[in-house]
């Protein structure tokens, strides 16, 4: 069992290295897409903490993404903050503001489970969207906020797309590592316990509410981080950033790649970006492709793409079992 785990880790590290080495040599549009996909991968992975590890399907993850992005844009445009070395301060600020918002929303959301949790997070997420849309003087309303100062420069010029790719890659890898460590920790195990059987955890004496609440805040914090990166990746923050579709995208990415695997969110993000942004430049019926992929995944791979190896070994085992039963039943 440990063997497959270390094999998996090795596979992830190798694919990350391959990504790091190959992408900068691709054409600049691919670099751009890879950067964006990684930003969304952070968002999807943060959501996976809730969906995959705690069993809470949230439809409001875009809220934290949005506040991170809007805060970055507002601070940069109004105060010139975060465009030099102080960009590094924006990272903890983004984490903090995402976490803080989640801490507030969590008070309302955590009391519910299942569909009710979904509805409450949806409503809270839409509140943030409404604010972004209507608070004209601060958010620019429908027009959104353009990052007037461009990307940060601190010796390294991030307006160069390749430099920015490396930066985003760094944060992506760091997030992956941090969340991986988190999910392997005793705290992560207790989240799994809650996902599997909440009542039992409660009887065992765990403060289930608090565990969920903390998970919610952590997810929010990383959502905020991805928002900070998105503001710089995209150069513009609009209500579109915070709208329900963004939350749904994050949810679909996670499910597509495989919930509860972390890496699944990243794979899902890569596939969605690849299909939506790249295939749409090739064919006008890209939406059917994307829709088809979703439907097929749900029908045949409910555990997501990361579930494929498991499915294969399951299938092999059943084959083996059938053969042994055949052999066992043959002599009689």
């Amino acid at each position: 069992m440990m063997g497959t785990q270390s094999f998996k880790i090795a596979a992830v590290i190798v694919s990350l290295l391959v990504l790091l080495i190959i992408v900068p040599y691709c054409n600049s549009f691919v670099v751009l897409l890879a950067t964006r996909a990684m930003v969304f991968a952070i968002l999807a992975m943060s959501l996976d903490i809730l969906l995959g590890f705690t069993g809470l399907a949230s439809l409001g993850q875009a809220a934290y993404f949005g506040v991170g992005a809007y805060l970055t844009a507002i601070l940069a445009n109004n105060y010139g903050f975060g465009l030099k070395w102080d960009f590094w301060l924006m990272i903890p600020i983004g984490l903090a503001v995402g976490g803080a918002l989640a801490a507030f929303f969590g008070l309302f959301a955590i009391r519910a489970t299942g569909t009710y949790f979904l509805m409450i997070t949806l409503a809270l997420g839409q509140c943030v969207w409404g604010l972004a849309y209507r608070w004209n003087s601060m958010t620019g309303g429908d027009n959104g906020l353009t990052m007037k100062g461009g990307r940060p420069q601190f010796g390294i010029d991030l307006s160069n797309d390749i430099n920015f790719f490396y930066l985003t890659f760094g944060f992506f890898a760091a997030t992956l590592l941090a969340l991986y460590v988190l999910t392997r920790s005793p705290f992560g195990k207790s989240l799994l316990g809650i996902r599997e059987r909440e009542l039992r955890m409660r009887i065992l004496g765990y403060n289930v509410w608090l565990h969920k609440y903390v998970a919610f805040i952590i997810a929010g914090a990383f959502g905020g981080l991805s928002g900070v990166l998105w503001a710089h990746a995209n150069g513009i923050v609009t209500p579109e950033t915070v709208v329900l579709t963004t939350s749904v995208d994050a949810l679909l990415m996670t499910v597509l790649g495989g919930a509860g695997t972390l890496v699944g969110g990243a794979i899902g993000s890569a596939i969605v970006f690849g299909l939506r942004e790249y295939v749409s430049t090739l064919v006008p019926w890209w939406q059917y492709v994307l829709g088809g992929v979703y439907v097929l995944t749900i029908l045949y791979l409910p555990t997501g793409l990361m579930g494929i190896p498991g499915r294969i070994s399951q299938w092999r085992n059943s084959q083996k079992k059938r053969e042994t039963t055949k052999m066992a039943s043959a002599p009689s």
Partner: protein
Amino acid sequence: MTNASRKLQSILIGTAVAVGLGLSAPAGAEELRIGYLAPLTGGLAQTGIDMRDGFLLYLEQHGNKLGGMDVKLIIEDEQGKGDVAVTKAKKLVLQDKVHMLIGGVLASTGYALAPVSTELKTMYIPSIPAADDLTQRQLKNFPYLIRTSWSSSQPNHPLGQWACDQGYKKIVTIAADYAFGYETVGGFQKAFEDCGGKIIQKIWPPLGAKDFGPFIPTIKADTDAVFSLMVGPMPAQFIKQMRGAGFKKPIIGGGTSYDEFVLPFMGDEAIGDVSALHYSAALDTPKNIEFVKAYRAKFGKVPSYYSENNYTTAQWLDEALKKAGGKWPGPEELIKIMVGIKLDAVRGPVSFDDMRNPIQNIYIKKVEKKKMFGYEKDELWNTVTKTYPNVSQFWTYGKDKFLAQPVYDKNFPPCKFCE
């Protein structure tokens, strides 16, 4: 995919093959690569199709050439979202190496694309996005931008004046709650109050609202008329519900409340309503009749201002590139040439002011049901009842005075006569 784009595609493939085989293209025919952004999926898809068709019609009528250059038109679906538009624009510039970007629908898309044009040093023509500040207070940030369409408040200043001339004293505005709504209402209010009118109430239903039940009863009874600004699916519902609720007074509106894009979806209750815009399909000029007939024969519908603006954009480029000698002169140079060109367009005479927004006729239009241009059926048309010639985006205020005030917003001009 439409016939036109299919035909175009085959031309393009043909060209590509010819180039690929090393055959020399006809003398002097350099390739002009245009990145065209329009929403082809989502709620704004029909608008995007109107835009694209307008542009394609011009290309088709002119042998797929602009100013002697062979056009390679690459159309991307921006889905009506600023984020997506930015991604697609970068793809067009970085991967397809286009010479210029054209398009976008929403003001927000215009604001999203303009900085991209600056960053990538690529010419950008917002052929629909009307956000005032693109060619006003923020123009200095966008050296590669030139607008061939209009600014949001441009047609509404004359409409404000016109409302005064009708003897309206008090008007209630009801407009979609977003930047385009603010700028439209702002322009109208400014001009209307400057000639003695009073805006006594401003109502802001959310963008995309289809039920105006909560808003209609709040309209103050002593108003002389209602000014509306609706977009997308809103206008038809709004008029139906207003008249259904027994509102008998005149309704006037910004251009998108009654443009040819929404007219076919409206009933007779819209008859008599007045709006202002820089184009009407019912414009009785030989050029327009020819355009409407060609467009309708090809695409089966009456062209909207979305179509005309893009047709004219192509025409403007055609003239400019002719002057440039059929060669790509670079964005700065082309913009310089374009600014100097006065065009006899479908919508009437157009030229640029010194902030790269058109000076053009503004038409006060009344919805009428009649037969036009030899078509058999009675249909709703935007009959032009008055023309304000050569209106600039600064109306009669003068550039400096106009730019000294802030951009029109929800609270600017302030509602002095509201309670």
